[in-house]
């Protein structure tokens, strides 16, 4: 014990130094190895995962040798290539995307009206929260029989179910985004004399943009799913059906490789929209503003 009490830090001499002139120090860089640079690219890592999955698929299906149940990856790619070249698949994609964009735009527009109403009045808030609580859990596809009854076979029915699938997801996220805008920003906006729709557009919308973007992404995924499912149910409308109908048709003709090709197209379009369209929007907005890393 006596030893412990005796421990004292040593007395060290003081010193004062002149600092170096560091005002024109340039960038100090640590070079990365080629491997580090390569694995730092997100795209490279993702492509690696995709290649791995494709290899597993091929390795499983070649010994299985049953093109009716599970065609090989190379067969599916060949089918995809053939259908793209003969113009069948691009035409189907175009049909689907056209309907999808119509429904998506209408849904987002309605969501904008509904949430503006909800932030400006108390009854609007109640209206929105009641409606989203009621309709958000309701699968859009469950409304399809009703839509067919009301609008008949054709695009209006599809647009109707698409609006339903987009509207609630986007409204819910936008509204919760508006509610979480910091009190300081709100007061700053009011301080400049902003009120009403200008206040919503200039303060609330940009401040809530991370949530709004999440809503738009979820809405997009819901819409895409709903559309393919709806096309599978009632198929062709005006001459050429969409992607869902393509899948359905080829299943009936037992062209299983084409069914897979259709599914892969659905996946690819989803990936492209997510990683190109939404990622670009993110990079130019919330990431630039430091709202998201």
């Amino acid at each position: 014990m006596s030893e412990r009490t005796a421990i004292l830090p040593p007395v060290r001499p003081e010193f004062v130094r002149k600092t170096l002139d560091a005002s024109n120090v340039g960038e100090i860089v640590r070079p990365l190895s080629a491997w580090e640079r390569l694995t730092n690219i997100t795209a490279v890592r993702r492509i690696f995962i995709l290649v791995l999955l494709a290899a597993l698929w091929q390795a499983y299906t070649v010994p299985l040798d049953n093109p009716l149940i599970f065609p090989t990856f190379s067969d599916v790619m060949a089918a995809l290539w053939k259908e793209t070249i003969n113009g069948e698949l691009p035409a189907r994609i175009l049909t689907s995307i056209k309907v999808l964009l119509m429904g998506y735009a209408a849904g987002v527009g309605l969501a904008a009206v509904l949430t503006t109403f909800a932030v400006s009045t108390r009854i609007g808030t109640d209206f929105l929260s009641t409606l989203t609580a009621m309709f958000n859990p309701l699968p859009a596809i469950a409304l399809l029989p009703l839509a067919l009854l009301w609008f008949g076979l054709g695009n209006p029915s599809l647009v109707f179910v698409l609006i339903h699938s987009v509207l609630w997801a986007v409204s819910l996220n936008t509204h919760s985004g508006f509610l979480s805008v910091s009190e300081t920003l709100r007061m700053a906006g009011n301080n400049y004399g902003l009120t009403g729709i200008r206040y919503v557009m200039k303060i609330l919308v940009p401040a809530a943009f991370p949530s709004i973007l999440t809503g738009l992404k979820i809405g997009w995924a819901f819409a895409w799913r709903t559309l393919i499912a709806a096309e599978l149910v009632f198929g062709v409308s005006s001459g050429s059906g969409g992607l869902g109908w393509f899948i359905f048709e080829n299943r009936n003709e037992l062209e299983v490789a084409n069914v897979f090709a259709g599914l892969i197209t659905v996946i690819i379009i989803g990936l492209v929209v997510e990683s190109v369209v939404f990622r670009t929007i993110e990079a130019h907005t919330i990431r630039k503003w430091g709202m998201q890393r």
Binding site: S182, T184, A188, Y192, R198, A207, K288, W289, G290
Partner: protein, 256 residues
């Protein structure tokens, strides 16, 4: 000379879920042009609430607040506010755009003039190099400088500052106080400044309103000679205010 801002017997109350809070009780004071008027008091004396009343975010339940003889009805760009929080800058706008934003939305200045003024004031607060940078890349002190530039560029009748330096570290805080005084020497704006720091009040202000807590009432209104007075005067004034606020606490402790 008629005062710029007249606060007359103002009682401010706000409701929380459970009960009604009386923040200030019959507070009155006058702010003249060119004043660096300080609202000083311990936490819970309603000084920030009082500032919100002047800004127009809160209506007094009793008494009146008049700016240039006109009663204050709602928030407006003639009373620019600098908040304590760093997130008062719009993250989706660059420093320059942030400073220009109120000038443009209020329609007080045209685009060209707003831009010139913005650049001039950004240079005044020493951020000339950072005009095109987004706020998330700035330090806390720099953000507050931008907020001050934004408020001053508007040429408001009165500048409202709600503990603008409270969230800064001590060294930056000291520097910002000096810079604010330098700016005042240059532009001679009128500022209503809320703080809980006696030292800050004595350094920044020329006139100090001391408030007592729960609910806030006027305890004293004192003159400070500011930095120019220097030395003993400041220290003496500080200890005088300290005793004033401390005596309150002792009395209260005895009463309890």
């Amino acid at each position: 000379m008629t005062p710029l801002l007249e606060v007359d017997g103002v009682t401010l109350q706000y409701k929380t879920k459970q009960h009604l809070v009386t923040a200030t009780y019959r507070v009155g004071f006058e702010v003249h042009r060119g004043d660096r008027f300080i609202l000083l008091g311990p936490s819970g004396c309603g000084k920030s609430t009082l500032l919100k009343g002047v800004a127009g975010f809160l209506k007094p339940v009793e008494g009146s607040i008049r700016l240039n003889g006109k009663a204050i009805e709602r928030p407006g760009p003639d009373r620019m506010m600098v908040f304590q929080e760093f997130d008062q800058l719009l993250p989706w706008k660059t420093v320059k755009q942030n400073v220009m934003f109120p000038m443009l939305t209020s329609g007080k200045f045209g685009r060209r003039e707003a831009e010139q003024r913005a650049l001039a004031f950004i240079a005044k607060v020493g951020l000339g190099k950072f005009a095109d940078i987004f706020p998330h890349m700035l330090s806390g002190g720099m953000k507050q400088r931008v907020a001050i530039a934004r408020a001053m560029a508007m040429e408001p009748d009165i500048l409202l500052m709600d503990e603008p330096f409270a969230a800064l570290d001590a060294l930056t805080r000291r520097k910002m106080q000096e810079e604010l005084l330098q700016l005042w020497e240059e532009i001679r704006f009128t500022v209503l400044f809320v703080t809980h720091s006696i030292e800050e009040a004595v350094i920044v202000g020329n006139r100090i309103l001391v408030l007592s807590p729960h609910p806030g009432q006027v305890k004293a209104e004192l003159n400070s000679r500011g930095e120019a007075g220097g030395g003993d005067g400041l220290v003496a004034l500080q200890s005088r205010i300290h005793d004033m606020l401390f005596a309150e606490r002792i009395e209260k402790a005895l009463a309890d």
